[in-house]
Structure formats: structure tokens, C-alpha cells
Amino acid sequence: MPYIAELEKAGIPTILIDLEDQHNMVQQEALSNGMPNVRYLPASRTLPGPEDIDKILSSIIEGLTKPLTKKEKEKGLYAPPQPRVLFEGSLDEAENFYQQTKDIPSPVNAPLSIYTDGFPIRVPTEERVKQMLTGTSHKPDEMITLQADAMGMRGGRKKGEPVLFQPMSWTATVEKVATIAVMAGCKPEHLPVVLAIAQSGVATGTTNFPSQVCVVSGPIAKEIKMNMGCGHLGPGSPVNGPIGRAYQLMSINLGGAVPGVNRMSSHGSPLNNGGVCFAENAAGLPSGWKGLNEESGFKKNQSVVMVMSGVGNHGGMLGHEFSPGGYRAFQKSGHGGIARRLDVKGTPGPHNWLEYLFPSLWAAMEGGWTLIMIPELAQHLHDYGFKTKDEVYEWLYKTSFEPVKKYKGRSWPDLTTNGWMGIEKTSGKHWKELSDDYMVPVVNEPRDSCIVVAGGQEEACVQLSGGRFNAPVYSVDVWR
């Protein structure tokens, strides 16, 4: 849309073809770019192309030629009121106020909460927000800016840049983040983590099943009593839960994200219902395995949060549950189905249990995975021979290779290779020159995968798709 605005401003008339369910988003984006009356029309999601074009061709031409209406010739200033105090009244009245909904037309056709994630919130009175602000040394009226250089989806972002909360590119102060932390049910000692997460701009993704997950690494996890053990992904922790929820409330309020308007995930995601934040169990790392903080260039005694905004877009969440006792039999004496599949029957471990996950990992999607494994599983990999996490990432990368013919049977690469134009990076050759049996990696590079050690004692590993793609890591300590 910014490009369309640039063209219209330059005197080049345009007409945009979208899909019907995207109209709300087109209107909002158009207003955000200064041209609320942009011309657009829908193509069909289902009609064959030639039939569709029969229907819309004359409207396309009309978009370029029909004289402007009075409205389309208008110019002005869009500046909605933005009071600091949103409501004044009793607590009961405030609860009702913040629970207001708005009817959202197709493709939602239902009321959605304006200020909340659909669940009741803790009313952000001035006193409660003041109390929350004791959790940080930053001033309430300080704008949220990047505290260090970081990577974003569309390139590098520089220290000091104001954070533009997505999708509306709004900005925020420390006080606004504290307001949301109150609403989410956080305590003041959680605020530095929430402020660190805020630096991400709280993107919500689009299209399929994008979920947002935050991972804390470093001393703060223990300080604020995050659950790193059994059930750490929920429910029950009054720390993990509210911090994860703060992400979603920030995306709704600071970013203006509304399903069906500018948050177009077809099914939404249960992970975003309440939000997800968990912590690495640093004490459970095998010797020589770095924590997430150290892997990201920080020190072992520094606290960070990794913000994954696109979990699920390329595959979702998998929880490989070995049968009760099945994993133990596999490792202890080489018996059971896992041992039979990996051809180690009768041979005690340690065995590389990742091989059991392998057929399903890239069955329907490409890219890195984040593997959340309990300490025992991490130790087995270490004892098997992976003395560092990087060695596991390298193994996953090499295991992901498959023939070009099979790779071309995937959906996303049509888009990511721009229609198979350009150079395939391992060969240095044009995609179209490669033979069907040339092997290419399904994971872009080894470091796209990520391991986080956490969880209880039952032998299980949960995989989140997306890995380190679009998962920047931010310092929490700078916000103390």
C-alpha cells in the first residue's frame, strides 16, 4: 500500500485487485497511507482465472478511467482523539467498559473485544499502573525504542529507533506497556520481560496458523519464579501465563491487530488465546551446551527473551509422545518400536532419538524447528555425541536434504524462490538448471533450528515450527 500511495501522489492512477475478505484490511491500510479512498476490487478465491477476468475486466479499466468523485478529491487530516485517561468510574463500570466489543463484518461476522483478548482483564487504574511502573527504572513517558540493533522481518533495525507496533505502526510509551501488563495480570517484577518483548513490535503474522511464543533465558527466569519444569507451557503459572498474555494484549492495543481486518490468520491460534511465554531451564543444559542467551551473543548471567512471532506458519506445533516406557526401553536396552525403527534392537543407548522424529519434521513444511526438550533428552543427545547444540543443528540441516523433484512438490518454495528464478545456494546454479535428483536442504541454514531445554521428567519433546526465523532476541536487563 505505501507503494500505491507513492504512485497516486506522483499522479499515476492505480487500481488494486485484492480478495474479497481482504477489503477491511485494504481500507485500513489505505487510510494509514493517507489515501482512504483508494480504488480496489476483488478477484475470486475459487473461480478459474478466465471466468474471473470475464467478470472483473471492465471494472478494472473503469478504475483507471472513471472520473474522481468529490470524496476521492478530498484532502484533510486524520487525527483521532487519544486521551491518557480512557475511562473514569467505579471498578464494576470500568470492567464493563474494557469488555466492550465491536461487530466485525465478513470474514468474521461476530463481535470481537476491542481492548482485550476476549477474556476479562485486570482494570488498569492509575494507581495499579503506577505500582506496575516500580518494576522498571525507565520513565513512564519514555517512548519504547530499540535498546540495541536488531534484525526485523524486513531488514535491520537500529538502536534508538522508535518501535512501530504492528500492524498499524503505532508507537507507545513505557506507561502504555505497563497499562497492558496490569491488564494481563502481571506483577511489577515481570515488567522488564514485557518491555523487552514490546521491542519486537508484537507482530501477529497472517495467512495460516501464526502463533506467538516468547522464551526467556537467563537469571530472571528463576528470580521471578517462572515455571521451567513440568507443565511449563501451561496452564497454571501466574508468571508464564500473564507475560505471554501481555504479548497478545499489546498486539491488540498497541498494534491495533483485529482478526478479519488486519490479522488475517484463517483459524487464529489457540496459542494466542492467553499467549505463551516459557523459560529455559539453564540448570538442565548438558555440559558444553550453551543457553539461548549465550547462543545469541549475550553472557550466561544476562537475561534475554526470544520473541517468535511466526510459530506455526510453516507447520505448527508437534508434540512427539513416545509411549509410556517406550523411550526408556529404547535408550536403556534397545527394545521396543523406536529401537526397531532405528535398527538398534538389543543395543543399549545412548541413541540419537531425533532420528525417530525425522520423517514427520519436514513432511509438510520447510524451515527450522524449535525443539523444546526435557533435560534427560538433551543429555542423551550429548552422550550420543552432540557435544554442542551447534552439532545438533548441523545434523538437522544435513538430514533435511531432499531431491529437487520432491522439493518442488512443496507449496511455499514457489513463492520463496520467486517462481524458481534465481540461484540455488548450495550449487550456485540457477534452479532451472538443476536435475531432479540434485539434493537441496529443506532448512535454509543450520542455525535456523533452535533447542530450548525445559519441561518435566516424562520423556517428551515439543517442536515449534519456524525455528529462529524471525525470532529476534532482546535484552531484559536493560529494562530493569
Binding site: L86, Y98, L254
Partner: protein, 93 residues
């Protein structure tokens, strides 16, 4: 008489900077004899058919094309901006 306790409750909404809105560009009297750019962003089922029909039904238009399978459009060059009279973009999602 008991008075009802009231509270000031803060606004969690992000800060929207004022937006200057502007009029659309003047439309064309006709497209024949003009240079119109078809800026394709994915959806080949629709856009391949569209390109064919445009060239077939409007042969007196100088059609130029820019194409990507992705969502970010391929932009006109500075020179093309001077000579392009109109632009059709699609399909955007």
C-alpha cells in the same frame, strides 16, 4: 450517604500519529495510446489470464509488466515513473 469510589483508568491503545490524507490522482480519459503497467504480485491463475485479456482486448495500449510471486511489488524505475500513465496491481493479499 455513601459515595461511590471512582477510578481513573488508563488508555492502553497505541499512539496514532496524525495522517495527512490526499486526493487520488486524476483518472485517464481513455487508456488507448497510454502506457499502463500490470504489476503482478502472485496468483498466476488470475494474473496470467488477466495479462492475456488485457493485451487482447486493448491492443492500442502500451502494456508493460512487472512480476513477482511474492507480496512486495516490483517497483517502476525512475524512468518508468515518468512514462507510465496508469498501473494495475494484483492480486494482493
Amino acid at each position: 450517604m455513601a459515595t461511590r469510589e471512582t477510578f481513573k483508568c488508563l488508555n492502553p491503545t497505541g499512539i496514532q500519529k496524525p495522517i495527512e490524507t490526499f486526493p487520488l490522482a486524476r483518472r485517464l480519459d481513455a487508456i488507448d495510446g497510454k502506457t499502463i503497467n500490470l504489476n503482478i504480485t502472485g496468483e498466476p491463475d488470475i494474473t496470467i489470464a488477466l495479462e492475456k485479456r488485457l493485451k487482447n482486448d486493448y491492443p492500442d495500449v502500451n502494456w508493460t509488466t512487472k512480476k513477482t510471486y511474492g507480496v512486495d511489488p516490483v517497483r517502476l524505475t525512475d524512468e518508468e515513473m515518468k512514462t507510465t500513465d496508469g498501473l494495475i496491481m494484483g492480486v494482493c493479499w
